[in-house]
């Protein structure tokens, strides 16, 4: 064998095994989630997705709010920002505007995203900036020891705060995302990391605001959610590009159907285009100018 043959063999070997593996996207920080928590499945799916898409870690940023699921950025070896409660989307919006070359992912839970962050959710949907928003929905505030969240059933009475249930209709994330103008709506399950990987890959590649609701059981405060494993099912109609059809599908949905529910190609948010055209500043220089303007 010549040296050239050997080099060729090595290259073939290297080509056969992906250079970036899921573990390359994990940080050394050990998750404090309860063993058996669904969020582990989301972490696994996200790292597999990033490896599959071969996104360089330095080109990815994950931004979160507050809650068990919002600890996600700490467990990843990409850029991360653990923000304040309900503000994952404003932070992600600003980051993407300033650094459009980054793949920006916002993540959090149902309480963070649909309660205190609910208004941001609406406007992120209609703004259609190129972001991916992952909501790990376990229908409970877990970090604060189990209170009803916007997606909790009205008759759930296992919290001392609401011993007779909230009596309030549940927030319908997919329906509200559709009504607010989201261009990509999907639902995955933490117990199916590989299926979730497929959805996350599609969401990240979607040009626009991609919303992925992930059913992620809380084994501590909602142990009955373990039954989701037997209850989830593929969406009956599959993805649609038709808004009216999607509305009908989502309204009839039992909340446990999985898959890409809706996708539409619409114009991306173009904030800064006028400013970009008006000057030759880089994003960092523009940011410094804005700071100088507002910090006088």
């Amino acid at each position: 064998m010549t040296a050239g043959d050997a080099d060729s063999a090595v290259q073939r070997h290297k080509a056969s095994i992906p250079s970036l593996k899921a573990k390359d996207y994990k940080s050394d920080v050990k998750p404090v989630w309860c063993p058996g928590c669904g969020h582990f499945g989301v972490l696994a799916a996200l790292t597999k997705t990033l490896a599959h898409l071969a996104l360089p870690p330095e080109r990815v940023a994950v931004v979160s709010g507050i809650g068990c699921s919002s600890r996600l950025p700490a467990y990843l070896a990409v850029h991360g920002f653990h923000g304040v409660h309900g503000r994952a989307l404003p932070l992600a919006t600003g980051l993407k505007a300033a650094r459009p070359e980054l793949t920006v992912i916002a993540a959090g839970g149902d309480g963070d995203g649909f309660s205190i962050g609910g208004n941001h959710f609406l406007h992120a949907c209609r703004r259609n900036q190129d972001l991916t928003y992952i909501v790990m929905d376990n229908e409970v505030y877990g970090m604060t020891k189990g209170q009803a969240s916007p997606t909790t059933q009205p008759d759930w009475c296992r919290s001392k705060l609401t011993p007779h249930g909230t009596g309030i209709r549940r927030f319908q994330p997919a329906a509200i995302a559709l009504a607010a103008g989201a261009s990509f709506i999907a639902r995955g399950f933490a117990g199916d990391p590989n299926g979730l990987t497929r959805l996350l890959a599609a969401a990240i590649e979607h040009p626009g605001f991609a919303f992925v609701q992930v059913l992620s059981p809380c084994r501590t405060f909602r142990p009955e959610q373990q039954a989701w494993k037997q209850q989830v099912h593929a969406s009956e109609l599959g993805p649609t590009h038709d808004t009216a059809q999607a509305a009908e599908l989502i309204q009839r949905d039992d909340g446990l159907s999985l898959g890409l529910l809706y996708e539409q190609r619409i114009p991306l948010y173009a904030a800064g285009v006028a400013a970009d055209a008006a000057d030759d500043l880089t994003a960092a220089e523009r940011l410094a100018a804005i700071e100088a303007e507002h910090c006088r």
């Binding site: 020891k145 009475c157 919290s159 590989n194």
Partner: protein, 179 residues
Amino acid sequence: MSPPASDSVIESVAELLAHALELEYASQAHYEQLADSMDVHHNAEVAALFRRLAMLSGEHAAAVAEHAGDLTLPRIPPWAFNWECPDAPEGADCLDPDVSYRMTTAEAIAVALHNERRGHAYYVHVAATATDAEARTLAAAMATEEVEHVALLEAMLTDAGGDQQRPAQDDLDPPHMPA
């Protein structure tokens, strides 16, 4: 759930090795995750066990990669592997109801045993269904190796008193919920 793979039959040694590699990586990742979890929850004994299992899976992955040599393995998206379950057989289940921060060594071994048996069943299945004769032979050899892993874990389980119930102990951090 994961969509069914377009072709549920292994057709080549390269395809089998790609699956074996993914299986071992998933196994390693899962055991590392469990070890980290047990560390965080101060269950040092079980953490050490999972750490050891992760190391063994890493060694198995290295052995598979070495076996692959200069063979070009197909690049298979995570959702397109031909598993019978949502994740790789030894990658186990992130929602495993048997996993707890208070789990004993015996319970941890039982979880690992379950995973290894699924891994064994997978290779037996491939040995019976692969369309390529060489892949069937290799899968049968891998199944034999898995039998050894299962036997090792069974012996460990016996040593750890696998039939014993978890000793009653106070949960120092219980969820505060109404009865």
